[in-house]
């Protein structure tokens, strides 16, 4: 193996995307497992969206949950962002990123639905402006 990975193992941090494991077999297995899980979750997602076997109001929730699960699979098996002690910096950065993402998306949806709820229907506003 490379001297760099040796160097990395002597140190306390791991770069995002780097793996603890250096042998080919287990690394390959990691990607195969990740691909298998991702295919399974994607197929379930497409199946749930097109089926009438599932109670209809639960479908959007199921799709969102499956998407979040698949993103987790990608993070762990492809980007190697894990909860290991050497990965703390990467996980902290990810946590901050996710906080901003939820603020932006949740905040937008909340505020806009509130505005829609409180606003007069458009035709009445047009009449008032005449």
């Amino acid at each position: 193996m490379s001297d760099q990975i040796q160097d990395m193992h002597g140190h306390a941090d791991v770069a995002p995307g780097d793996e603890e494991e250096v042998r080919v077999g287990p690394r390959l297995l990691g990607y195969v497992v990740g691909l298998g899980l991702a295919i399974l979750l994607t197929a379930t997602s497409f199946f749930v969206a097109g089926t009438d076997l599932v109670w209809e109001p639960s479908i959007p929730v199921a799709i969102v949950v499956l998407a979040i699960a698949q993103m987790g699979v990608h993070l762990v098996f492809f980007l190697h962002i894990t909860t290991g002690a050497d990965n703390t910096n990467n996980v902290l950065a990810l946590g901050f990123g996710l906080l901003i993402v939820f603020l932006v998306m949740g905040g937008s949806l909340w505020i806009m639905s509130n505005l829609n709820h409180n606003m007069m229907p458009m035709d009445q506003i047009m009449q008032m402006q005449r």
Binding site: D18, Y31, F46, M112
Partner: protein, 216 residues
């Protein structure tokens, strides 16, 4: 002050009481590979934050079709499934390329990168065909707020994939010309992170834009 306390004070001037072994070991700066990878990870997270703004605008404008066609009438889920398969497999072959680079196998590296490139180009071709058919049906980005948000979000992801393919070809050429040098390996680490992150964003795109968008 007795002699005993004086001796004790001098032997342990900082009052550590046997904790001298817990003193912090200064290891110096982190290796360049870790600094580079971490910096690129921060960039990717900021890119994801930018995408979240596009997702938020799409979610807000989902029903605002201005009398035009809605997602359920426009989206072809079979084509989306094919695009998803391409991108997912390309993420896998990109992982194979990073393993091949770590064991310094130029042949396997070039083969895996070429497979990644072909899958990425197939994805772009499918997406281009979808956009062309939408525009031909009069459902271009100017038709409604919903379609503007759709083209902005999916087009932004497509542009990232295009840039990724240019980067991929550059990395193939650099490894061919310069071999697995330390700086090339750092660039490869960043490229692999970028490509996997694009796949994560695509997971959100096919779930939120296509599957949820055609349910509404």
């Amino acid at each position: 002050m007795t002699d005993a306390t004086l001796a004790f004070t001098q032997a342990d001037p900082h009052n550590l009481r046997g904790m001298q072994e817990a003193v912090v070991v200064h290891e110096g700066p982190a290796p360049k590979r870790i600094v580079t990878g971490y910096g690129f990870w921060i960039f990717l997270l900021s890119d994801i934050v930018m995408f979240s703004c596009f997702f938020a605008s799409y979610a807000v404008l989902l029903g605002k079709t201005a009398g035009g066609p809605s997602g359920a009438q426009l989206f072809d889920l079979r084509s989306v499934a094919a695009e998803t398969a391409c991108l997912l497999l390309s993420s896998f072959t990109c992982g194979l390329a990073s393993i091949a680079a770590d064991v310094r196998s130029a042949r396997w590296y070039q083969a895996a990168m070429a497979a990644t490139c072909v899958l990425g180009l197939t994805f772009l071709a499918l997406e281009g065909r979808e956009f062309a058919s939408l525009v031909a049906r009069g459902a271009g980005p100017t038709r409604s707020a919903f379609l503007s948000a759709f083209f902005a979000l999916v087009g932004c992801h497509g542009m990232h994939v295009s840039a990724g393919i240019l980067w991929l070809l550059t990395m193939m050429a650099q490894v061919f010309a310069k071999g697995f040098r330390a700086d090339i390996m750092r660039r490869l680490l960043c490229f692999a992170l970028f490509w996997h992150a694009l796949d994560i964003i695509w997971v959100a795109v096919f779930s939120v834009v296509y599957l949820l968008g055609s349910a509404v």
